[in-house]
């Protein structure tokens, strides 16, 4: 049940292993609006939350193909179609000479799509987030291992969630208010 005044319940765990365990248990019980926060990438944490494929490789592949076709096409059009120069009868479409720039533009487009794609799929930049209201959340970027069950989850029920978090040995639980 969604609660307009509450973003969710935030719980801190002892270490990375208990966070992965908790994430796994909570996902097993059918909660789906859950996210875990850690100061470094923890192995199997995203998988424990049911997030298996980031699709970054596809984004980068599409970017690289666009760079490849765009780069080669640009040179072909400029040097062979729009302004062909006849220098000693050499061919206008001299493809070997177009390879270095094509290569560089493929790399450039792939790298740009990796960075911009990662940020866009992560919903960044996002200067404000309800979790930033909790002081303890600051530790998620230092030494804390925290998890938040969001109130938008169809199974969200404060009492049950608190009980579950206690059963999973959460060190402390905070109520996260929603944005006003």
């Amino acid at each position: 049940m969604s609660d307009p005044l509450r973003y969710g319940l935030l719980a801190e765990f002892e270490d990375a292993e208990s966070l992965v365990h908790a994430a796994h248990e909570i996902t097993e019980r059918g909660y789906c609006h859950v996210d875990a926060y850690s100061p470094f990438p923890v192995h199997h944490l995203a998988e424990a939350l049911g997030f298996h494929r980031s699709r970054m490789a596809l984004v980068v592949l599409v970017g690289a193909i666009c760079g490849l076709i765009g780069g080669y096409g640009m040179q072909y059009w400029m040097a062979a179609v729009d302004y062909p120069l006849n220098i000693g009868g050499r061919p206008a479409h001299s493809w070997p000479a177009f390879i270095p720039v094509t290569f560089e533009l493929t790399i450039l487009a792939a790298a740009l799509s990796a960075v911009l794609g990662m940020l866009a799929l992560n919903g960044l930049p996002r200067p404000h987030h309800p979790l930033f209201a909790i002081d303890a959340f600051k530790r998620a970027n230092q030494d804390g291992f925290v998890l938040c069950i969001e109130s938008t989850d169809p199974m969200f029920d404060e009492g049950k969630v608190r009980e579950l978090l206690r059963d999973l040995h959460a060190k402390e639980v905070w109520d996260v208010p929603a944005d006003a």
Partner: protein
């Protein structure tokens, strides 16, 4: 607060404290002001050299008709080569899962970025009228002209600008989680806003981390062929031309190895004093220096092979101009540069075979400086001795750098130093989150982590 033992193994707390406190402290070490002051003075030498150049033109340099490239191209290749170690350390060693890279990748990447900035200045000014430099890019214009895509010099424009962009993104993406750490640790309102703005709202979410890691790995995979391509294309600037001493197929691999050689030398030149000044011994250990010295030795041997093969193929060609080129290089008016190059790049680095030398930071520092000088001499030999003694004896001439050549060269070192000092003051010079991950993995076996 008690001073932590500088040689104790790091814990997740000591990683957080020690690395971020260098940035978040209100007490700036006096040495930092001293270093920045020197950098700033030299930076002004650069600005003065550029100012006079813009007023009077490239005639104030020593370049002339046979030697049209001179210091501008020597320094360009030198700087861009130095940059390559940063990408190598952060990308290639990441792909090979060399965990020791974690301590040095951040400032090696910063070094790349600043070295590329210094490199870019030279060809930009060497075009003579730098305010028209944008003509090099293909944009629709009233002259109805497009750039010449068949020229290695234009390939260079694309290679170097792609390299600068990708290096910047790689560095920035690596910084995002650390910027969030600084945002959450600082007490200053201004720093909270500044780091918060740059961290873009990073929260350390598990899904974000997964996309982040995949994107970072892909970036590393992309940057690896890029770094090889950049110095390959720089070598095409020479190898595609027909000048004796340039027209050789060995150039691309030999240039890439030279870039790695000089880049690792520069990383050592920076890492050894930084480690001493900021007590970074737990992070940058003797093992790191040893590994870098080994990479340097290996790259140096490839470079030495390049020198041998370059002269062999010139001799084997039995071409008058090539034979003349060898004789002129070895015994001509610039013979001093060739023999100093042999001393700096081939003879001195052989000391690195000794474990005792590799374990001695003073010796390593000395050798790395010698290699930096040697790699500069290499480019001087390639550019100047080839151009001044071309096919046509009537156009042979000599090249002498002027005070403005030296001013601009030394000045870019000031730009590099100023950027580096500002960087180590405002951004973490060691990746905090990767260090935390490393500490976590190392502590997995024994759960005795005390705060």
């Amino acid at each position: 607060m008690s001073k932590p033992d500088p040689h104790a193994p790091p814990t997740i707390h000591s990683v957080n404290d020690q690395i971020s406190s260098i940035v978040l402290t209100t007490r700036t070490p006096r040495g930092w002001y001293f270093g920045l002051a020197i950098g700033f003075v030299l930076l002004n030498v650069m600005l003065l050299s550029i100012g006079v150049l813009l007023l009077k033109g490239v005639g104030i340099w020593g370049i002339n008709t046979p030697v049209g490239w001179g210091f501008a191209i020597v320094n360009f290749v030198w700087w861009i080569g130095i940059g390559h170690a940063g990408t190598l350390i952060s990308a290639i060693l990441l792909l090979f899962r060399q965990e020791w890279r974690t301590s040095i990748n951040r400032f090696a990447e910063a070094m790349t970025l600043f070295a590329v900035a210094c490199a870019g200045i030279f060809p930009l000014l060497h075009v003579g009228r730098p305010w028209y430099a944008y003509w090099l890019f293909p944009y629709p214009n009233t002259m109805d002209l497009w750039p010449q895509f068949r020229s290695p010099l234009l390939w260079d424009v694309f290679a170097v600008s792609t390299y600068a962009t990708v290096s910047l993104m790689f560095w920035y993406v690596g910084l995002i989680p650390d910027l969030a750490t600084l945002r959450d640790r600082t007490k200053s309102r201004f720093a909270q806003i500044a780091y918060g703005f740059l961290a873009m709202g990073w929260r350390g979410s598990a899904r974000h981390w997964k996309r982040y890691q995949d994107a970072y790995l892909l970036l590393a995979g992309i940057a690896t062929p890029l770094v090889v391509s950049v110095h390959t294309i720089v070598s095409f600037d020479f190898a595609v031309a027909q000048v004796p001493g340039w027209h050789a197929t060995i150039f691309p691999p030999y240039f890439v190895a030279g870039a790695i050689f000089s880049g690792f030398a520069m990383v050592l030149t920076l890492a050894i004093p930084l480690r001493y000044a900021y007590n970074l011994h737990p992070f940058v250990t003797d093992k790191h220096l040893d590994n870098m010295a080994k990479v340097m030795l290996a790259a140096g041997l490839i470079v030495a092979y390049g020198y041998v093969f370059e002269n062999f193929s010139a001799w084997y060609s039995n071409h008058t101009a090539d034979l003349e080129m060898i004789e002129n290089r070895l015994f001509g008016p610039y013979a001093w540069s060739f023999w100093s190059l042999m001393l700096c790049n081939i003879l001195v680095p052989q000391l690195l075979w000794s474990r005792a030398v590799r374990k001695n930071p003073y010796m390593l520092f000395f050798i790395s400086i010698v290699i930096n000088i040697g790699m500069w001499l290499e480019r001087f030999v390639i550019v100047v001795t080839s151009l001044h003694h071309d096919y046509l004896p009537s156009s042979w001439g000599m090249y002498y750098p002027t005070k403005w050549d030296w001013g601009l060269y030394i000045g870019t070192m000031g730009l590099f130093a100023s950027l580096l000092f500002i960087f180590i003051r405002i951004l973490p010079m060691i990746s905090i989150f990767e260090m935390r991950e490393l500490v976590h993995e190392n502590h997995d076996n024994h759960e005795t982590e005390a705060p």
